[in-house]
């Protein structure tokens, strides 16, 4: 296999080691430090990993994709929503175009299933016409307004009350955490350093460099890219940039069993209102049905709790689009936080006051869709800010492929089990995830360290029993592979320990 893993030079290692010994901090100097390993930070990291640079990606959580990137609609929008001329419009359409190739390179499932914005009355139809015009101005390919009859032919389960729909065939679905994990892994394969579990407490610019303080750990970097999602305003304020703030806007979702995953075959939106695109219903790349989100501004940037009223709101909203879905098939509900900026548009630019500091903040919807284009855009900003980029000689464009047992054919199954018998041992019966896949996801670059991280990477525990059967198995494998006691295994890091102690 031609993929190698990045190893820091021996000198660098020794340097670090002695620093650690003498000052109990680790000292590294980077060309660029990216703060936040969500989908945006990770794709920026992956983009920069193509060049001869020393780059680190800093994340306060114990895994990547732990903020907005793990709980959102998972939709790659076509790009007709945003106002023409905005960054949102430009980067969405470009990001959508890049997604197919990117997903292939990162071995992440992406399906271009198209989207429908439903209209229910004359007023909605006028709104659709406006969206259509915006779409044309934004260069969204192949959009059209469909008659009621055509829409119902395409999607017979939709409400009979509709009057028409805006169809955008380029819209698609992706798993946002898969995309993030794929980007980070590929970036790591190309030499990026991932610093997990370290919260940036302060950033001090000094003589053309930044000192980044993370508790007792300090690193230095010539450039800093702020991709801290809902915390981007706090990070920006550390260098005195206070021109924007991020409002946490919570959205609740409900996920349904695969049994009804094909009730619709495309992404179904309501006509948008002032507060956003409203509640949608969509198949997921894994074959479930997802409905949501509502939109409520909250105070706490970290509050991803669900509410009874919110879930009712989501059910009613989706019920308007698809009257016939069976509520008994709900397998879980969750909430995510949008990083809504005080400005209308994304905030992606170099600081005017602090040279070398670049914001990539306020990345609310269509942030996931735009993320691949944001990465290019940030790269170009860095160039104009004076960073020299030279392509690496040995660059691995393609991430080492992931074996997904449930998706390979019988011959491939036979072969892989012969090579590694652990691929014959099913741990998660609902999603048919094998021990081999779980072990692999732990030992990959940016590997899983807790049970939620295993779940996001392999789907073990994501199915209808929600980990009831496989959790003891997953905990056992994590403990064995990480060489820690089972009662130190966590759900998602920190104090989220799953077990208290051994029995008497």
């Amino acid at each position: 296999m031609k993929h190698g893993h990045y190893k820091p030079s021996v000198l660098m290692w020794l340097f670090c080691f002695f620093n650690t010994l003498s000052r109990e901090v680790f000292y590294m100097e980077y060309d660029a430090a990216i703060i936040g390993a969500g989908v945006v930070g990770s794709l920026i990291g992956r983009e920069l990993s193509k060049y001869d640079l020393n780059v680190c990606l800093i994340e306060k959580a114990e895994d990547v994709a732990m903020g907005s990137s793990k709980a959102n609609s998972a939709v790659i929008h076509a790009g007709y929503d945003a106002n023409p001329g905005s960054l949102k419009a430009m980067l969405n359409v470009r990001g959508n175009m890049l997604m197919e190739k990117l997903a292939r390179e990162l071995d992440v499932p992406f399906k271009r299933i198209g989207s429908l914005v439903l209209a229910f009355n004359e007023k909605d139809m006028l709104q659709l016409e406006k969206l259509y015009q915006k779409g044309i101005k934004n260069h969204v390919p192949d959009i059209e307004i469909l008659s009621r009859r055509r829409v119902l032919e395409m999607e017979p389960q939709l409400s009979r009350k509709i009057t028409g729909a805006l169809y955008a065939p380029t819209a698609g679905i992706v798993s946002p955490y898969d995309l993030t994990v794929g980007a980070v892994e590929n970036a790591a394969e190309n030499g990026i350093e991932l610093i997990l579990g370290k919260k940036v407490l302060d950033i001090k610019p000094y003589k053309g460099k930044f000192t980044i303080i993370m508790g007792t750990d300090v690193i230095y970097s010539r450039y800093v890219i702020n991709a801290a999602g809902v915390y981007a305003d706090l990070i920006s304020a550390m260098v005195g940039e206070t021109e924007f703030s991020i409002i946490p806007r919570r959205g609740e979702y409900m996920l349904f069993d695969k049994k009804i995953g094909n009730i619709v075959s495309s992404i179904i939106f309501n006509t948008p209102s002032a507060t956003g695109k409203g509640i949608l219903a969509t198949p997921t790349v894994d074959g479930n049905l997802l409905i949501g989100p509502n939109a409520h501004d909250i105070k706490d940037k970290n509050d991803v709790s669900t509410t009874a009223e919110g879930m009712q709101e989501v059910l009613e909203g989706a019920g308007k689009l698809i009257p016939a879905f069976n509520q008994r098939e709900i397998i879980t509900s969750f909430a995510g936080i949008r990083a809504a900026p005080s400005t209308e548009d994304f905030i992606i630019k170099a600081s005017q006051t602090t040279k070398g500091f670049v914001n990539a903040g306020g990345i609310e919807s269509p942030g996931l869709s735009a993320a691949p284009a944001i990465a290019e855009y940030v790269r170009d900003i860095l160039i104009s800010e004076g960073l020299t980029l030279n392509k690496k000689k040995n660059y691995y464009l393609v991430r080492r492929p992931v074996i997904r047992f449930r998706e390979i054919n019988d011959n491939q199954k036979v072969r892989i089990i012969k090579e590694d018998p652990r691929y014959g041992n099913i741990i998660c019966r609902c999603e048919k995830v094998t021990e081999g896949e779980i072990v692999d996801c732990i030992h990959r670059p940016a590997g899983a360290r807790n049970s939620d991280a295993v779940k996001r990477r392999t789907r073990a525990g994501m199915g209808r029993c929600q980990g009831g059967f496989c959790m003891p198995g997953v905990v056992g494998i994590l403990a064995r592979e990480l060489d820690i006691p089972a009662d130190k295994v966590t759900k998602f890091g920190g104090n989220s320990r799953l077990l208290l102690r051994k029995t008497k």
Binding site: R328, I417, G424
Partner: protein, 421 residues
């Protein structure tokens, strides 16, 4: 592809009894496929006693009960494969399974017995609002952690749902040194066996809060507490009664669901009332030659009844394999849940396949006192049985003899229902 007489999917109490009974009825090429590392199914983790009163007249632990059948299976030389997960069963009885040693296994069974058991309902299915911290488990998962893996999940627990596993775990957690603060039950009565309420809660001073539920889950990383609330007669929370209960563990014992994803892929008809396959008097599903027994058909309270039902499935599957089964002639009767009855198993009766009698298992919709259970067909009353009390938490049964079946109305289905006594 290998052809085999009988494939049994699942090596729990149902699969074990069915395989043994099929062997005793003359089938020699039997293969039992078990996904776990040992035979015995969920009994392996049920280390409390109370199993086997009906069949053995003594109180065994789960593993002891299972061992009686495992031992017999081994003595008879019935072949089984462990750590083997079935991936698919086709309509024409081709079973695809996988394990580490054999890789992908594909075989065609002349007959197949489904004995996959059930799974627990989860937090997601209940839609309990709040955060998503560590410390929320289904009771069965916690039971596995404590009894098989040797780890205690937490030290202060609230249990939602008074199903039997929840009650058993209330006692088990207490014995392990945890404080079980309360068991909350949405309904005005418990879903568990009376003896479990007495022995697991009363004996340990654990309060059972009927008509109560958990309305919120709190805690960022590890669970810190839950909000418990009384519910009105429509099971809606009365928010004024909300009470915050500090705890690091929430166990859910809120129902079991027969695990029939494989059955559905094989095209087997499922009864929405039981969530299990529709079966006839021989425990055969809607697909000829595929039989089912145990919790995959409907959730049982007592393993003894699982064993009885599974022996029937094993015997009938053996007859099917040997090809001695007679051709059915005459009317096929449906059995339906009548007044106050939730479901009845078996759902289909072919009269000339009934040996001496048929035993209907059923559950009622509510608590009823001093009632008669009746079997009706058209205007004829076929059998009646007086009961002092029936509850949804305890499975009931009533028999219909071959002689009583003579009065079956050709133009009607069979109804099992309750009448005031």
């Amino acid at each position: 592809m290998e052809n085999i007489g009988l494939v049994v999917i699942g090596g729990g109490p149902a699969g074990l009894a069915a395989a043994i009974e099929a062997y005793k009825n003359g089938v020699r090429d039997i293969l039992v496929l078990e996904r776990e590392r040992e035979l015995g199914g969920i009994l392996k983790q049920c280390i409390h006693n109370g199993f086997g009163l009906h069949i053995f007249g003594e109180e065994l632990t789960g593993p002891e009960y299972a061992w009686r059948y495992i031992k017999q299976l081994k003595e008879l030389g019935i072949v089984y494969k462990l750590n083997t997960t079935v991936l698919n069963i086709s309509h024409d009885k081709i079973v695809t399974a996988v394990n580490s040693n054999d890789g992908l296994i594909r075989l065609r069974g002349k007959a197949v017995i489904l004995a996959m058991g059930c799974r627990e309902r989860t937090r997601g299915a209940l839609n309990i609002p709040g955060t998503r911290p560590a410390g929320v488990y289904t009771a069965g998962t916690a039971q596995r952690f404590v009894n098989m893996e040797g780890y205690l999940p937490g030290k202060k627990a609230v249990i939602l749902g008074s199903g039997d596993i929840g009650l058993i775990m209330a006692r088990r957690m207490t014995l392990e040194g945890a404080k079980v603060k309360m068991v909350c039950e949405l309904l005005p009565y418990s879903g568990g066996l009376t003896r479990n309420i007495v022995q697991c809660l009363h004996d340990f001073g654990i309060p059972l809060k009927l008509s109560h539920t958990v309305v919120a889950i709190d805690g960022r990383e590890r669970l810190e507490g839950v909000t418990v609330c009384r519910v009105d007669e429509n099971r809606r929370p009365i928010m004024e009664t909300a009470e915050y209960v500090e705890c690091d563990t929430l166990l859910l014992s809120v129902g079991l669901i027969p695990e029939n994803e494989l059955s559905e892929e094989a095209g087997i008809e499922i009864d929405p009332a039981t969530s299990g396959p529709v079966v006839n008097e021989s425990m055969e599903t809607s697909v000829e030659g595929i039989f089912a027994c145990g919790n995959v058909v409907h959730v049982h309270d007592l393993v003894d009844y699982v064993t009885q039902e599974s022996k029937m499935a094993g015997r009938c599957a053996a007859e099917y394999v040997k090809g001695t089964g007679e051709i059915h002639e005459g009317k096929i009767y449906k059995t339906l849940a009548g007044n106050s009855v939730l479901y009845v198993v078996p759902q289909i009766i072919r009269k000339n396949f009934v040996k001496d009698e048929i035993k209907f298992f059923f559950r009622v919709k509510n608590i009823y006192k001093n009632i008669n259970v009746v079997i009706k067909s058209g205007n004829s009353l076929l059998n009646t049985q007086k009961k002092l009390k029936v509850t949804p938490g305890e499975m009931e049964s009533i028999r219909l003899s071959k002689k009583q079946m003579e009065f079956l109305n050709q133009k009607s289905d069979i109804y099992v229902e309750l009448e005031e006594g």
